[in-house]
Amino acid sequence: MEMMPEEPTDTEIIRRVLSGDKDAFEFLLERYGSLVFGIVARHVPRGQVEDVAQEVFFRAYRSLAAFAGQGLFNHWLSKIAVRCCHDYWRGSRSQEMPASTLTDEHRAWVDRIMAVESQETFEQETERREAQEVLHYVLSLLPAEDRMVLALVHLEGRPTGEAADMLGWSVVKVKVKAHRARRKLKELIKKLADHR
């Protein structure tokens, strides 16, 4: 039986990159590309995922010496990914979707979801494209910080401590921001329901 060559560990790859073998960084791209795409795709518009994911790895490369093997590399990289998404929204407030981009289809979806009776129909409706688009519309109306904390704590259900670590904020700040962001989301949803 042919022996498979052993995969280098993250620490070994990082050591190689830091000692000048920059091509070794490609192992990390291969290994963690899906992880980063998964995080970034949840936070930024579809057309921006590749650019933001590229920025994540570029920042990771530049600060690789600061990582120094403390903790898990994938956890460290996830934090960079979340912060890059946050920076994306901080830098693109002017490009946000205007309020008029909700179409009749979206309004019809809101009507259907509010009138739905069975759990089965409810789940079918949440799988529709309109559900994603209405969600992106609502989130686009929130400031960058509110949007990120809402996504991590409320939509993904992460504990506040973990969200604080990912965003580089204090736990208190996350708690306060998450509470306010949730309230804003509820107000937006109420407006959406009332003015559909």
Partner: protein, 107 residues
């Protein structure tokens, strides 16, 4: 009949569920090469910008030597009772009057 709150709660739950069902974005072909190209460009640029004599340790050593030289000159001027400003003025004015005289053809 359902209350308005229940309806908006349901809409919120639907949006949370929609978030969880978000489409997966696969790593596209060619993306990895683009990242590596950017990294190599950055490295090349950094190597070009990294002029040895301008690197921080050299810069600080140069700054320290300059300060030391300035301190020595000041100490010498104070001890020997020289007025640096007047010496400099004499030098400059002396040269200047010489040049004027040459231009006017006096010497």
């Amino acid at each position: 009949m359902k209350s308005g709150k229940t309806k908006t709660d349901r809409l919120e739950r639907a949006l949370i569920a929609a978030y969880g069902r978000g489409e997966k974005h696969p790593v596209s072909p060619g993306w990895q090469e683009r990242v590596m190209r950017r990294i190599r460009q950055e490295e090349t640029q950094r190597e070009q910008e990294n002029v040895p004599w301008l690197s921080p340790p050299h810069l600080w050593r140069f700054a320290a030597s300059t300060c030391m030289a300035a301190a020595v000159v000041t100490a010498y001027a104070l001890i020997s009772g020289l007025s640096i400003e007047s010496e400099l003025a004499n030098e400059v004015l002396g040269d200047f009057s010489l040049i004027i005289a040459q231009v006017l053809g006096l010497i």
